[in-house]
């Protein structure tokens, strides 16, 4: 099968030099971009440029794709701490049973561990889930199709 015979829907979706040529049993194979293709050329350009820049000082795009979390609002703060407290407790329980190699390093304060976690766990899921969905639910969605 030549690249031209690949249905437009597939070529448009993946790029025609990705889906090409012939595999076992005359099935279309999906080899990497072949030499001379635009994708391959771009790969060679990228590699040469990156190697030339390597080791030289100065920030380049994506040198530090890292960020400190923006100051969370009340809802996100509650969610972050609540989830961390519950998850860490569940890991501590697993470690206590010998099911995990180590207890987690605590990231939330004692009040979350000693106050929030027991309270949350005492409530049935039917009750808790309503709070969780109200606080952490996505808005403006149908549940499913």
């Amino acid at each position: 099968m030549s690249a031209d015979e690949i249905p437009e829907s597939v070529r448009g979706y993946f790029g025609h030099d990705k889906v090409s040529l012939v595999g076992d049993g005359a099935l279309p194979a999906a080899p990497p971009a072949p030499p001379g293709s635009p994708a391959r050329r771009q790969g060679e350009i990228a590699r040469a440029a990156a190697l030339e820049a390597a080791g030289s000082p100065g920030a380049r795009p994506g040198t530090r794709p890292a960020a400190i979390r923006p100051r969370p609002g009340a809802v996100r703060r509650m969610r972050l701490s609540g989830e961390a407290a519950l998850m860490e407790q569940s890991m501590r329980d697993a470690a206590g049973r010998g099911d995990a190699r180590a207890a987690p390093h605590p990231s939330v304060g004692l009040h979350w561990r000693r106050g929030f976690v027991p309270l949350y766990r005492a409530l049935p899921w039917g009750v808790v889930s309503r709070f969780v969905t109200r606080g952490s639910g996505a808005r403006g969605w149908r549940r499913s199709r």
Binding site: F14, D17, P32, S37, G62, A67, V75, S129, A138, W141
Partner: protein, 444 residues
């Protein structure tokens, strides 16, 4: 014929590129501009760890389309172009100092790794794997690295552990959690991956909190943790994926409880002319409606397509997610869908666990491997709420299938009686998912 509108896309990752392509395909008369800070588009970042680990021979293979091919289909692709401001009233944005007008805007600004707020976090030797060109630079640097630390056992962290170990580098994981992939996987499911990484020589430090980075001259000398200092000349930061929402917040778009931009099922934000997709947004988990963010490249690509179609005057919706996931850790495949036992326990969701140790091919066929399947189901009804798997092969297809089954509300009874392929080289007579379901029925 579509309306001759202008559509601007911020971001050239999986979401941005698929949004731009779909917008143009849906509305060929639209002007589509796509801006990205990076030098390249249409490459697979997912392949970078495997080139670094020498499993893929060269970076060039990760490029999927050449940039000129976007011009051929009428997309104005602007690389190394940073969008610094958006003006909602005038419907313009500033990109590398130039004004670009738009009728519809699609924000696909993606994610950043969460930067550890500790002493020395700017030291040379702390690296992030994201942009392919920086990956190529890192590849060269790895030739002289003797000892490395990977910060956090996230999916990327696990891939980088194996990659560094393959390069013969003394490799350590520092993770405050109790096991690998603890945000998504169960401890027993992660254990074979941990063992496999240890077989490659990786040292795993769980329950260890990062305390700082130690310098020697300009470079990194060690990583200080609550469990002591680990000598290292390189640290790969593979922390949580934090949504990049600075632009969205600057124009007052609503941001949700996960930190992602709020969108509706058409991927429209709180502003009628602005769409968003990919790792910068949050979408509902299918069973609970809880907003989740920072999913996978596959989710980013599909969300981008929905946003692009709608921005181009089409009509598509995106469904709540059941998040099939899977990967190779060491030499073992691990994956799942929706909730595992650990997450269900964490949230307090009542559940039973149905488990089976199965095999991937007929037991006499060369290459047969174990596949462990855990199904998590609602007590009483047996309705599936999640799954976890680990094994030598066949995890991805099962994860995809189970995510779809979850979406359709299947029960353990349905799975216990499911049909399956039996052919010695590719599947055993007893399908492990079905056996797990049968085992679970006894507990209902």
């Amino acid at each position: 014929m579509g309306e001759p509108i202008s559509i601007a896309v911020v971001g050239g990752g999986a979401a941005g590129i698929s949004a731009a392509s779909m917008a143009k395909r849906t509305n060929p008369d639209a002007t589509v501009v796509c801006c990205t800070e990076y030098e390249d588009v249409a490459y697979s970042p997912c392949g970078i760890p495997y080139v670094l680990g020498r499993e893929i021979p060269e970076f060039e293979r990760l490029f999927l389309i050449g940039p000129e091919q976007y011009a051929e289909v009428g997309i104005d692709l602007r690389r190394e172009t940073s969008v610094s401001a958006i003006d909602l009233d005038n419907r313009t944005m500033t990109a590398n100092g130039n004004n670009i007008s738009w009728d519809r805007l699609i924000i696909c600004s993606g994610f950043n790794y969460l930067l550890p707020e500790v002493e020395g976090n700017d030291v040379d030797g702390i690296v992030f794997v994201k942009n392919i060109r920086r990956g190529i630079e890192l590849d060269q640097r790895l030739d002289s690295v003797k000892k490395a630390v990977v910060l956090e056992g996230t999916p990327l962290g696990v891939e980088m552990l194996a990659a560094l170990a393959h390069r013969g580098i003394e490799t350590h994981l520092v993770d405050p959690g109790s096991w690998l992939l603890s945000q998504i996987a169960d401890a027993d499911i992660a254990e074979p991956v941990q063992k496999s990484l240890e077989d490659l020589g990786v040292a795993l430090h769980f329950g260890a909190e990062l305390e700082g980075f130690e310098r020697s001259g300009d470079g990194l000398a060690g990583v200080a943790t609550s469990e002591g200092t680990i000598e290292a000349d390189l640290c790969v930061v593979a922390t949580h994926k934090e949504p990049e929402t600075a632009l969205a917040r600057s124009i007052g778009l609503k941001v949700g409880s996960s930190g992602g931009i709020e969108v509706n099922a058409r991927m429209r934000t709180s502003h009628e002319a602005v769409y968003a997709a990919g790792d910068c947004v949050e979408v509902p988990q299918g069973l609970t409606g809880i907003a989740v963010q920072g999913l996978t490249g596959a989710h980013a690509m599909q969300q981008g397509r929905v946003a692009g179609a709608n921005a181009g005057d089409g009509d598509r919706t995106y469904d709540p997610v059941y998040v099939p996931w899977g990967m190779v850790g060491g030499n073992v495949q691990i994956g799942g869908a929706s909730f595992g036992e650990h997450l269900a326990t964490t949230l307090g969701i009542p559940h039973i666990v149905a488990r089976a140790n199965g095999i991937s091919r007929a037991r006499y066929y060369p290459g047969v491997q174990q596949v462990i399947v855990k199904l998590i189901a609602e007590p009483g009804t047996g309705k599936l709420i999640g799954a976890q798997m680990v094994g030598g092969e066949g995890v991805k297809e099962r994860a995809d299938f189970l995510a779809f089954a979850l979406k359709r509300g299947v029960t353990l009874d349905d799975l216990a009686w499911m049909e399956n392929v039996y052919s010695p080289p590719i599947g055993a007579l007893y399908e492990p998912m079905s056996v797990a379901a049968q085992n679970g029925l006894a507990q209902l």
